[in-house]
């Protein structure tokens, strides 16, 4: 079921931008998206802004200097899926007929937090006892390896593949190629995850203009249709939970496939939430790109890399494009649309017709993740 179209996209380069304000970063992405869509500022009916650490009224702070206030502006916080959750609100608002053109922005400036792991909520019981995001993923990785026979070298292969794609993306934070040995020799963060298996922190913004089909035609843009926009939250469990798989991603993607009337075999390319290399392996399985326990074989055979049968994260993913938390979900959409329009340059997936984006959010006790958003886009 077509919800809406996306008439224009834009993003900043991701990376450390300590000398710019978060407002400047956000404005750059928004102006690029509006220019791409050919829409003037008075053609925007509403705005949604996703950010996790951007502070109060982040959307208003960005739109203010563009003279775009007065319209409804809604700020959305959903950890790493803040931007993806903001997009969902816009798609459904257009579907409901409430607006014809909505600016969706994802923006984050993590350099202002200093370095290290992301600050987590101090009331959380696990955070008090020393849990950090890399460890959340590392513990799942260890269990996954235990159950499937995957090894740290498979995790390193994911990082190598991400860098191969990142090297082809001028907006990526990391554009260098690396080897399996480089990854294995990089310093330990939370074992078995070494530094190069972890996404970096950085700054950046991405924006898209969501419109009705009618408005897209009027704008004369090359519209891409949103066929599914699904958001779910993790189930709270005090008891046992299979950490070698992702129930949340399985559930969310199943709903998205059903809504779009497609299956995993129809996906030309996917942008998935590879905050850590091990997660990408688990998500190959959860998204149905391979069978249970076959993630390691999939990366070994190069199926998710350039020229493979199921390209995953052609942007370089969170690992290399970068992960300014709230911006990521929108940046995934920007990449998907460049791919579907055939504008992705050196990293273009041939004959891309259907793109899937997958964005999870949050380390929170007792839940798989706080949130998971899956979008399906078609050209």
């Amino acid at each position: 079921m077509t919800l809406a179209t996306i008439a224009g996209v834009g993003m900043t380069k991701f990376g450390k931008q300590a000398d710019r304000t978060i407002e400047e970063i956000g404005r750059e992405a928004l102006l690029r998206a509006m220019k791409d869509a050919g829409v003037a500022r008075d053609g925007i009916d509403e705005a949604f802004c996703g950010s996790s650490y951007g502070g109060p009224l982040i959307g208003q702070r960005i739109l203010r200097d563009l003279g775009m206030t007065g319209i409804p502006i809604t700020n959305v916080e959903n950890a790493c899926s803040s931007g993806a959750a903001a997009l969902r609100e816009a798609c459904w608002a257009v579907k409901a007929g409430r607006a014809d053109a909505i600016a969706v922005l994802g923006v984050e400036k993590l350099t202002r937090l200093g370095g290290g792991t992301l600050p987590l909520e101090p009331t959380d019981i696990e955070v008090n006892l020393g849990n950090v995001m890399p460890a959340v993923y590392a513990m799942r990785a260890r269990r996954y390896m235990h159950e499937t026979g995957a090894t740290p070298r498979h995790l390193a292969m994911i990082a190598v593949k991400s860098h191969e794609y990142g090297a082809r993306n001028p907006n990526a934070q990391f554009q260098n190629r690396i080897t399996v040995d480089d990854v294995m020799r990089s310093r330990m963060v939370a074992d078995p995850l070494t530094l190069y298996m972890c996404c970096p922190t950085g700054d950046g913004a991405a924006a898209v203009i969501v419109t009705s089909e009618k408005r897209a035609r009027e704008l004369g843009a090359k519209p891409v249709r949103v066929e599914a926009s699904v958001l779910q939250s993790g189930l709270y469990k005090t008891g046992f939970r299979d950490m070698a798989s992702s129930e949340l991603t399985e559930r969310t993607s199943r709903l998205a496939y059903e809504a779009a009337g497609i299956g995993p075999q129809d996906v030309s390319l996917a942008e998935v939430h590879d905050a850590f290399a091990s997660a990408e392996l688990i998500y190959y399985e959860a998204l149905g790109f391979c069978g249970k326990g076959e993630g390691a074989a999939m990366i070994e055979r190069g199926e998710s890399g350039p020229g493979g049968r199921q390209p995953v994260n052609p942007s370089g993913g969170l690992a290399c494009r970068g992960h300014p938390v709230g911006a990521t979900g929108v940046a995934q959409i920007v990449e998907a649309i460049w791919q579907l329009r055939g504008e992705a340059g050196e990293r273009q997936v041939p004959d891309a017709k259907v793109a899937l984006t997958h964005c999870t959010g949050g380390g929170i006790s007792g839940l798989d993740h706080g949130a998971c958003a899956v979008h399906v886009l078609t050209s």
Partner: protein, 167 residues
Amino acid sequence: MSSAPRPVLSFVNFNRLRSSGATIILIAKSQVAVNDDTEYFPASRPWTEEADSVRLHGSKCALCGSVAFPPHPSCPACGAESGQDAVQLSPVGTLYTFSEIHIAPKGFATPYVVGYVDLPEGVRLFGQIEGRAGDLRLEQPVAVTLGPVRSDTSGRMVVSYKFRGLP
């Protein structure tokens, strides 16, 4: 030749001494000094120290029987708003997974090991595990214990439940 028994200060005795107002510097296997400034997490101290073990306090739903830790006022499994009975949890569980952390927020001394421990009551607990990752394996039995987990912003030591590997 047998060595003389070494004096052991259990946390039970430690707490008695502590409540007597004494300042105690305890150099245990964790090599961290414990004194009057010690803080506890959770502050409610949901545990009982027995002679040879530590038992955590959970809650069990009278309606659906599911067990939760820490004790919940309502049942997260079935939604029952009352009837959450206090239960003591088993002092030994099984290590489901773990990781040794090398980069951590302020207050945590790296490296340290964290993991998930499954108790027979059907509860999975997150906590720190004594020792290094190389000494541990999945499915290993681990015992609940108490010990320092971090220091707070003013430098005071925070003691909580944690785990130690059993043979």
